[in-house]
């Protein structure tokens, strides 16, 4: 009797998995991306023109952005629209699953939109074509000018449903825009959507600016500016444009980042040539010294729970990575491999530290566990550094510089991203040369 029960249970399980909804496994590099059809969103005929927006094109444009987002993940293979078998409005009501399966699609996105009374109403559905089921559906209303964000939010919802992980499409990247010859670079703070759209410049290029980083709510940026030829850490409010110097230090402050609660800035301060790590509370203005060592201590990065700090020090002779408690106690070296290490950045999931490694004249971006074990090098190049995590901890963005000729010719600086699996390395499109990227958290959280 017992045996019979067990057999039945197993049968039930396998039966269940046979009809389980499609899933994308993102823990491995995905060499077999999921074929997905993104139907243009049907534009309701009651829609009216809205200033500066091509309403008739909106359904196509939104679906194109979704397709591009999916293609860039490397996890999905968006199918060509010419092969689509149903009109957008009919498919959105209920797709003929067997017809879509014929073009080898496994998932289908449909939707419709209405622009009326100065508002954009959008709904979309995600269909599992194999199981012939609706997987998720969502409707929302916003201002028509937000249409690109609508596409990103839909992308996030679908990504979440299919991978079980938070998405990262409704995000922005802040970076340093570069122009001019290599020995006289003009650098400006720039911000763009994750897909390269909506680039805005936040400084004019009159002074050298470096290493911008978002606060947890994405409204503030901390960065290094050479304003009045005094290199100091600054704070910038993106909305108001207000800038202020952080603290009153008698020398260079640099390498700033926010604490995970956004209340403190952690950075290096160079006193008489020696760089140590400090924090400053933005509300109380209280400054705390975290390290006190005759070596260079820099590139600090908090763990997401705020309990630990990873940093870069040459106290052993050459650059290595260290982890300590957030009060500066319990300093432990975590890198012992061949080569030297810099720019440790704690993953938002807390499980990994991304870093730059230099060995035999080559530069690597890699990840390791927070105790230094399990080092994996993801990409090798002539020069690359400064990884920054996507908010879901699945992708890294970093910058790369090319080898220049004797007059500086052939030099370029570009942004790249790579999955932590080591797959799907790709160049990000930026209006100018670019460096020092920092990825925001999800804007619509």
């Amino acid at each position: 009797m017992k045996r019979y029960f067990l057999a039945l249970a197993i049968y039930f399980l396998s039966f269940n998995s046979l009809y389980a909804l499609i899933e994308v496994d993102i823990t491995r590099g995905n060499l077999d991306p999921l074929p997905i059809a993104v139907s243009p969103l049907h534009v309701d005929i009651k829609s009216v023109e809205h200033e500066g927006i091509k309403v008739k094109e909106l359904g196509n444009n939104i679906s194109s952005i979704i397709e591009k987002n999916f293609k860039n993940t490397g996890l999905f293979n968006p199918l060509k629209k010419e092969a689509f078998v149903q009109k957008p409005d009919i498919a959105h009501l209920k797709p003929r699953f067997e017809d879509w399966r014929l073009i080898k699609a496994q998932a289908l996105v449909t939707g419709k939109l209405l622009v009326k009374d100065g508002k954009l109403k959008v709904e979309f559905r995600l269909w599992d074509l194999t199981a012939a089921k609706e997987m998720t559906a969502l409707a929302f209303t916003t201002t028509p000018s937000n249409w690109r964000r609508v596409a990103h939010i839909i992308s996030d919802k679908i990504y979440e449903r299919l991978t079980g992980e938070e998405g990262y499409f409704d995000t922005r990247i802040i970076y340093v825009s570069e122009s001019g010859p290599k020995s006289e670079r003009v650098k400006k703070l720039a911000i763009m959507d994750q897909d390269g759209a909506n680039t805005k410049y936040l400084t004019l290029g009159n002074e050298l600016v470096l290493t911008p980083r978002f606060n947890p709510t994405n409204q503030m940026i901390t960065y290094l500016s050479y304003f009045r030829n005094m290199p100091r850490v600054y704070l910038l409010d993106i909305e108001t444009g207000m800038q202020e110097v952080v603290g009153n230090f008698p020398g260079m402050t640099f390498a700033p980042r926010f604490s995970p609660d956004g209340k403190k800035i952690i950075m290096s301060f160079a006193e008489d040539g020696n760089s140590d790590i400090y924090t400053m509370d933005l509300e109380t203005r209280l400054v705390e010294r975290i390290t006190n060592h005759s070596s260079i201590d820099t590139s600090p990065s908090f763990s997401p729970d705020g309990k630990y700090i990873a940093f870069n020090s040459d106290r052993s002779g050459l650059q290595q990575l260290y982890v300590m408690r957030s009060d500066g106690s319990n300093v432990k070296r975590i890198t012992f491999g061949k080569g030297i290490y810099g720019t440790p950045v704690w993953s938002p999931r807390g499980d990994l530290i991304a870093f730059t490694k230099m060995r035999k004249g080559r530069f690597y971006i890699g990840v390791m566990r927070t105790d230094g074990s399990g080092e994996r090098l993801l990409t090798e190049n002539y020069y690359q550094e400064a990884p920054s995590w996507s908010p879901n901890g699945r992708v890294l963005v970093f910058y790369r510089e090319t080898k220049a000729g004797s007059k500086g010719e052939g030099f370029s600086a570009t942004l790249w991203s790579i999955d932590i699996t080591g797959y799907n390395e790709r160049k990000l499109s930026t209006k100018t040369d670019a460096s020092d990227p920092s990825w925001s958290s999800l804007l619509s959280k």
Partner: protein, 158 residues
């Protein structure tokens, strides 16, 4: 006869290779001691016979014998010109992470400043600034360019 020409060709090839490699090593040892730049190509002068800069080995901020000689000349010059203040600009080559290079440039500028102070120049007359890898004097990506960029430059302020 055929064999003979072949041998001649090989000899010619070997011979040219020898000349070429001899040239490149000669140039290297002329401008570099280890990997510290010893040439004059990028050097400017605070006054006649007073070079404005010192050079460093990769990842190092220690002063070489030649650097100390240069800084003693600068100290003598600053002692004679008591009203002159200077800024020492510390730089790194492009082969390091940006933030570490900022710290390294700071350390190099201060190494030069400390040496001037031991020769009697008041620290009040000397400010320092680090540019890390941001302002290469030689924009190339070669061992020579990097050696010229690893530097601390003394600049007159007034």
């Amino acid at each position: 006869m055929i064999l003979n020409t072949n041998l001649k060709n090989i000899f010619l090839v070997v011979f040219t290779t020898l000349i070429l490699s001899a040239c490149s090593t000669a140039k290297k040892s002329g401008d570099l001691d280890g990997d510290v730049y010893t040439g004059k190509e990028t050097v400017k002068y605070l006054a006649k016979g007073v070079p404005d800069r010192v050079f460093f080995a990769t990842n190092k901020s220690s002063l070489t014998t030649a650097s100390r000689a240069t800084l003693r000349k600068q100290a003598t010059y600053l002692r004679k010109n008591k009203k002159l203040n200077v800024t020492i600009e510390g730089h790194a080559d492009e082969r390091g992470t940006r933030e570490y290079n900022l710290a390294l440039g700071e350390r190099r500028a201060n190494a030069a400043k400390d040496y001037l102070m031991t020769y009697g120049i008041s620290g009040k007359r000397i400010s320092t600034i680090s540019y890390g890898k941001e302002k290469p004097v030689n924009p190339g990506s070669s061992a020579l360019a990097w050696s010229q960029n690893r530097r601390a430059v003394t600049v007159k302020v007034n």
